[in-house]
């Protein structure tokens, strides 16, 4: 099956969140967990925010993924707390990269995974339209989401092909890595992109009319909970920034 970022089929089971709520969550988590804004004041809120992707995955019935995520996160978090102060030198560096990077990147990665697999392109566009985002931003953005898996897939295939020809790090022709891998990847992607663009135009993307949408989006009770959580986080960050 093809990997897809923004899925084309609507999610069937579980709680529906508004696409705007999901975007807000991505923003909050990327600022406070991934970007580490707020410094030490966010020390306790950060793990709480990191629990949100877990709850979201549960809410759409992906218990297995949720369990995997929570185990990985807990291991890294504990490793960071206990191991880091007692290790030095190279082992310290290794633990730091593994645990530190995972702790920061995993929540953001999982929430992004959750959002892009449960939101359809139509829902995304509908949400953006309600926020009055200009189509000059939303169309390229939805192309980015639609097209990124394709490019990665092409890159992986070309990687395999070049490995077979011995063009890899430490191989005989390692100086040709760049040219032999980047160029076919770009050429392939551009060709696929042209086809994608033709397909989208056939379906009326370039038409000078306002596009309509049949997606029903709106805020419900689950959205309100997320909004309160995000509000508390921002308020706490502002409050602690001023109290210092």
């Amino acid at each position: 099956m093809r990997r897809e970022f923004l899925s084309s089929e609507q999610q069937k089971k579980g709680i529906h969140f508004d696409p705007r709520t999901k975007l807000l969550l991505i923003l909050i988590i990327s600022v406070f967990v991934l970007g580490g804004a707020g410094g030490n004041a966010m020390y306790f809120l950060r793990p709480v925010l990191s629990l949100v992707p877990f709850a979201m995955l549960i809410s759409v019935g992906r218990g297995f993924h949720a369990a995997l995520y929570i185990i990985a996160y807990t291991v890294c978090y504990v490793a960071q707390l206990i191991l880091l102060p007692i290790l030095t030198g190279f082992t310290n560096f290794l633990v730091l990269i593994l645990a530190g990077t995972f702790c920061r990147f995993l929540p953001g990665f999982i929430i992004a995974y959750f959002v892009v697999t449960t939101t359809t392109v139509s829902e995304f566009m509908a949400g953006m339209e309600r926020m009055h985002m200009p189509s000059k931003i939303t169309i390229p953005l939805s192309v980015v989401f639609r097209f990124a898996p394709t490019v990665l897939e092409e890159a992986a295939s070309i990687n395999d092909a070049m490995k077979m020809r011995g063009i890899r790090f430490g191989g005989k022709k390692s100086s040709k890595i760049l040219e032999y891998r980047l160029i076919p990847m770009i050429t392939c992607s551009v060709k696929i992109g042209e086809e994608l663009s033709a397909a989208a135009l056939t379906r009326g993307l370039g038409a000078p009319l306002k596009r309509t949408n049949i997606c029903e989006i709106g805020f419900h009770f689950p959205d309100v909970i997320i909004f309160i959580l995000c509000g508390v986080t921002v308020a706490w960050a502002i409050f602690s920034a001023f109290s210092i």
């Binding site: 991505i26 923003l27 990327s30 600022v31 991934l34 970007g35 580490g36 410094g39 030490n40 020390y43 880091l84 030095t88 310290n92 560096f93 730091l96 990269i97 530190g100 990077t101 702790c103 920061r104 990147f105 953001g108 992004a112 189509s135 000059k136 931003i137 169309i139 390229p140 953005l141 939805s142 192309v143 980015v144 639609r146 097209f147 990124a148 490019v151 990665l152 890159a155 760049l178 040219e179 980047l182 160029i183 990847m185 770009i186 050429t187 992607s189 551009v190 060709k191 992109g193 994608l196 663009s197 989208a200 135009l201 993307l205 370039g206 038409a207």
Partner: protein, 201 residues
């Protein structure tokens, strides 16, 4: 019908152009990401100002053969900035993405989207968005280092700050521009050698 065709060539950004922007943004970010991923190793942090513009020149020079309308490069810069911001590079990159995208766009426009020299110059300016990724090291340095220390430990931070002293700021800013120009030259050569032959430039 003939009127429609002439309108398409006009300065209005249509659906096809927006899709083009999206496609090249993905290609650009994937290529940058290959080198950007190395930057958790301290020595590669200042070196991103060298490698990313050099490599980024290739997709950019191909992109400008398609982007002949004012605004497209600005949108691309903004999108790259916003996506980098969401990927956790700090908010500065969203600003530099917009600003240097706009400057590159103006340079391209001044050459009427034809001049080869202006395209390379635009590539140099466009590459300076990369500087936004490094901005947290200089603006609000203390807070950023403290926050790094919390996540990565004191040893890592002392290594990183020794590679990224304050005086390196103008050097990095100029480096992104110079290597952006070089990247533009490389990109131009590769366009000629490969993409023209493949019929996509």
């Amino acid at each position: 019908m003939a009127k429609d065709v002439t309108q398409k060539v006009s300065n209005h950004i249509g659906g096809k152009d927006l899709i083009t922007v999206g496609i090249y943004t993905v290609i650009y970010i994937v290529i940058i990401g290959i080198f950007g991923a190395l930057s958790f190793i301290p020595i590669f942090i200042p070196l991103t100002a060298v490698f990313c513009p050099l490599i980024g020149g290739i997709p950019f020079m191909l992109y400008v053969t398609k982007a002949k309308k004012f605004g497209m490069t600005t949108i691309m810069g903004t999108l790259i900035g916003v996506l980098m911001f969401v990927m956790g590079m700090g908010y500065w990159v969203a600003i530099t993405g917009l600003v240097f995208g706009l400057i590159a766009d103006l340079v391209l426009k001044s050459g009427k989207y034809q001049s080869a020299k202006r395209t390379i110059l635009a590539c140099g300016f466009f590459s300076m968005w990369e500087f936004g990724n490094l901005m947290p090291f200089f603006v609000g340095r203390e807070a950023y280092l403290a926050q790094l220390q919390e996540g990565y430990g004191a040893e890592y931070v002392s290594t990183v700050s020794s590679y990224m002293p304050m005086w390196i700021l103008p050097i990095l800013l100029i480096a992104t521009f110079i290597f952006g120009l070089l990247g533009g030259l490389i990109g131009k050569a590769i366009c000629k050698k490969h993409f023209k032959r493949a019929g996509i430039a």
